[in-house]
């Protein structure tokens, strides 16, 4: 913590931005990571159990991935905004 305080003394705002940018993306990646893993796992199971429904499952899977992934991407945009804007 002392080291952090030392660095923070130099440029508090840039320090805060850099740290919170890192946390913003890191935290935003947790939920979608779990979500997409679970989603794809279940889809693979569905396709293995019923190969004739694979096309339909795949379309729905991509839709689900798109919705889930949006959260991580918004986290990434927040990262860019905090770090560079």
């Amino acid at each position: 913590m002392e080291l952090l305080a030392q660095i923070a003394g130099e440029d508090q705002i840039a320090f805060g931005e850099a740290v919170s940018a890192g946390f913003a993306y890191g935290l935003a990646a947790i939920g979608p990571g779990i979500g997409i893993g679970y989603l794809v796992g279940q889809s693979v199971q569905a396709m293995a159990r019923q190969p004739e429904a694979a096309g339909m499952v795949r379309t729905t899977m991509f839709l689900g991935i798109a919705f889930t992934e949006a959260l991580a991407l918004i986290g990434f945009v927040v990262f860019i905004l905090l770090k560079f804007a």
């Binding site: 379309t59 991509f62 839709l63 798109a66 992934e69 949006a70 991407l73 945009v77 860019i80």
Partner: protein, 256 residues
Amino acid sequence: MIFGLEFPTIDHLVEWPSFWGDGEWHTLNKIGLSALIATATTLGIYFIAASKAKTRLVPSGVQTIAEVGIEFIDNGIIDQTMGEEGRGWNPFLLSIFSFVLITNMFEIIPGWQMPGNARMAFPALLAIVVWLAFIGTGIKHQGPGYFKNAIIPPGVPGALLPLVALIEFVSTFLVRPFSLAVRLFANMLAGHILLVTFVVLCESLWTLEWFAVFLPLPFIMLVLLTGFELMVAFLQAYIFTILAAVYIGSSMHADH
């Protein structure tokens, strides 16, 4: 500065100098040029194919590409999301798909290396077009009652209605276009930054005397990631189109 590497700033990565007339209406840069090329390629392929299809039934050359594209939209996107009645939307969805795919592809074309969709302007414009398209479809198919049907799902208890209506309104009319645009934009920007990171790593290892023996590691990663970005470019075009189809399909009929 990361581990002594000089990483370029974000402006340097995504802002390109104008070829001419900076600030004027007729100005053009790399990104604008990629949009023009995408439009010209799409129109070229489908108009040439259409003119050839009049005299020839067995497809060849450009006509094959055009037919693969049309069948992909019909079987892969419209049948899965909108059903038979959505077939009329094929030209619209095909235009969006081709435009997004080709502008994305510029990400990995050597010497160009800039996805047009890594600037917010293209995804935002496309998302607004899709937004207008699904609201227009709703009004055409359901009349002014579309707005009521869209924000009030059937079978909600009266006490919860204001809350549910507010959530549905925000998620349908505000979050949909926003997430559609941000998804495409952020994916392409992330891919671009990822490739730049490994290029910077390769470049700085090259200039670090004996450290150059580690050069193959980031370089192999760079080649693999370029292949990965080819997949992402296609996947994002597919997802953008399929979501547009889902949104338009969902406003054709009221929920019941």
